[in-house]
Amino acid sequence: MTPMIWTCELTEERLSDYIDNLLTQEERTAFLQHVPSCANCAPLFASVSHLVKNLHSIAEVDAPPRLVYSILDQTLGPRDSATGWQAVLQWFRGMGTRRFTYGMASLAATFLILVTASGFNWRHPKAADLHPLNIYRRADAQVHLVYARGTKFFSDLRVVNEIQSRLRENEQVPVNQEETLPQPTPGKNPGSTDGTRPGPREQNRADGIYRNLEVLADEMPVFTGLLGGSAR
């Protein structure tokens, strides 16, 4: 018995039979021998099988909620409006939808975040804490606190940056230290600013850096070595 020969025409006609698993074993073997190596069939097979996979992954769209009621009104006639417990039950039934649940969950999460951010004490809650004026005051205080901390943080960063840049400058200087160090000038009066010694402004800045280093050394021991190396 001669093996079945698959052709490009057969692919056009029966591609879906392969995708939906409707081919016989013999047809399937012939399909697999031809299609992957055929320049015409391989791209066609790829695009159609990809399309089918995509179509299966597309979710159904939601029908408008009013549609059911419109249909019931048209077929059974306008319904009597529910009263008493029935009305309450209908109201609760509406809360069972996934969309409503997500909406409520996100609303609750937003409320929790806002109340917590405003400084509400969850461990010892008081009714007065929920007063709008108190919430406003706490929120105002929190905002100011965050602003002050932010300002201090950036100020500290600036100081550290300045110290680091000064230290880098100092590290570069000793290469020609012998040549650049000011030589004592015979006969020159102490405190005079003839350009060979640091002036009062430079001295003040150096003092400021040293004070910053002292503060940093108190907070962070890693700077202790630097302090020792740059002692006056």
Binding site: L15, V48, H50, A59, E60, V61, D62, A63, P64, Y102
Partner: protein
């Protein structure tokens, strides 16, 4: 299936709540078939109402021996959609295809990540646009097989055509739709 047949029997005895249950069970599916066929939410809503109205009026003609209630209802839907297609053919000829671009719908699948949902939403819009460019015979075959995921035998009952015709329409519909999507720039990932 069994439950549908039971509900139909209750409806025929005049039980309004049984009809309400049937409507609630099938509205979403029927609406989706109509939406995928027309590509328009308002038309899909109107057509879904027409389908249920016709089903309600002809409920007595349903015989469970001829197949499930869902298949019978899909068949009624299909007939209405074809009627609607013929009725609005002239209007559509004057409409621009661009006007019919469907909006990207909100996906329900909560298990997917937002980026996946966005991609699927975009894909859904492109597929919907592609579907509207298929002939109604091929479109309905693809919708029933790949979006409603009906078996071939069910599609055969819905369309009332031989098995070979169903297979041929599904195959041609898929190939045609794949080519349309390629022309639209949708490439296999």
């Amino acid at each position: 299936m069994e439950q549908d047949a039971q509900l139909v029997q209750q409806c025929l005895r005049g039980d309004g709540s049984a009809w309400e249950e049937l409507v609630r069970r099938h509205t979403r599916r029927i609406y989706n078939i109509c939406y995928r066929f027309t590509g328009n939410r308002t038309e899909a809503e109107d057509l879904s109402q027409d389908v249920f109205l016709r089903v309600y009026r002809t409920l007595g003609s349903y015989r469970s021996a001829h197949g499930g209630f869902a298949t019978w209802m899909t068949s009624v839907t299909r007939n209405l959609l074809i009627d609607h297609y013929r009725r609005t053919k002239r209007d559509r000829a004057t409409d621009s295809l661009e006007d019919k671009m469907p909006v990207v719908e909100n996906k329900e699948s909560s298990a997917r990540r937002p980026d996946e949902q966005a991609l699927l939403g975009e894909l859904s819009g492109q597929v919907q646009h592609g579907l509207t460019r298929l002939s109604p015979e091929l479109r309905e075959a693809v919708i029933l097989r790949d979006l409603q995921q009906l078996e071939y035998i069910e599609i055969q009952r819905v369309l009332g055509v031989p098995e070979g015709t169903v297979k041929s329409r599904i195959n041609r519909g898929r190939i045609e739709l794949a080519r349309i999507l390629q022309q639209m720039g949708v490439r296999p990932s």
